[in-house]
């Protein structure tokens, strides 16, 4: 029930921000659509609503956003360099990475972060054993532990504090 209430609130806030108008017709439409969304998919938003009450998670999330933006800028400059370089300095390969994160949302965000940061994107997730298969544009090492340290060392701890 709490999960449904939260998804109603989230959907309604998104609606108000997208229409950016306090006219009663917009608000009424928004309430109806948000109620429908909460009824249809509300129960899959979260399994543990009490997590939303822990304030430390939000502070870590703000810190994570800054780390993520900085890594994304670096990743794009690196990618642009590799594309524009006449010699095409790439050494691609799919490596295996081990993660300790278990919850679905943490794994989703970890995979998305890997995809948007320098030279790597996630091909598949093996959530039972905690492995990620990562396509790496410039393979530095094939060893699982070293690759884990290089690719996800920075994000895993922060994401664990936000979602686990």
């Amino acid at each position: 029930m709490k999960s449904r209430a939260l998804s109603f609130l989230l959907a309604f806030v998104f609606w108000v921000a997208l229409t950016w108008s306090l006219d009663w017709q917009y608000l009424l439409t928004g309430v109806i659509i948000s109620l429908f969304i909460a009824w249809a998919v509300g129960d899959i938003l979260t399994r543990n609503p009490w997590k939303f009450k822990q304030h430390a998670r939000y502070i870590w999330a703000v810190y994570y956003i800054w780390v993520f933006i900085w890594e994304m800028v670096k990743g794009n400059i690196d990618g642009a360099y590799r594309i524009l370089h006449p010699g095409l300095p790439i050494k691609p390969g799919i490596v295996k990475v081990k993660t300790n994160l278990r919850s679905d949302s943490a794994l989703t965000y970890l995979a998305n972060t890997i995809t948007l940061t320098p030279g790597t994107f996630t091909v598949d997730v093996d959530s039972e054993n905690g492995y990620l298969y990562v396509h790496w544009m410039n393979v530095e090492t094939e060893d699982i532990d070293k690759a884990t340290e290089i690719i996800i060392g920075k994000y895993e701890k922060i994401l664990g504090k936000i979602f686990e």
Binding site: L18, G79, I90, A111, F121, V139
Partner: protein, 107 residues
């Protein structure tokens, strides 16, 4: 002045979009091309959206631009996973100069 900053953001965005398209042509196989199309094009489009937000500020246009950038950041990586996994399962081979393929080994 604010318009100028906005146009600079839009310019950076268009540059990265262009580099992404260039990578789509230059890089050797599907997986490497996904790198170009996902990273550079997402970043470039987010740059354009940020530029629009800077020019229009907190009006309906600016807020919509910011939400477009947010949704793009959330959905573009998911489409990359879907495309690459589907391609690998249906047997698209990586480039012959690839160093390793642990996914193939574990399948």
């Amino acid at each position: 002045m604010i318009d100028l900053i906005g146009y600079i953001f839009i310019g950076i965005g268009i540059t990265f979009d262009f580099i992404g398209c260039l990578g789509l042509v230059r890089l050797p196989d599907l997986y490497n091309r996904l790198h170009a199309s996902i990273k550079c094009v997402t970043f470039g489009t987010c740059g354009i959206m940020l530029g629009v937000f800077v020019i229009h500020g907190f009006t309906d246009v600016g807020i919509k631009a910011i939400f477009c950038a947010l949704f793009l950041l959330l959905t573009a990586p998911v489409s990359a996973h879907a495309i690459s996994r589907a391609a690998h399962l249906s047997g698209v081979k990586p480039w012959e100069k690839s160093v390793c393929d642990h996914y193939e080994k574990d399948k």
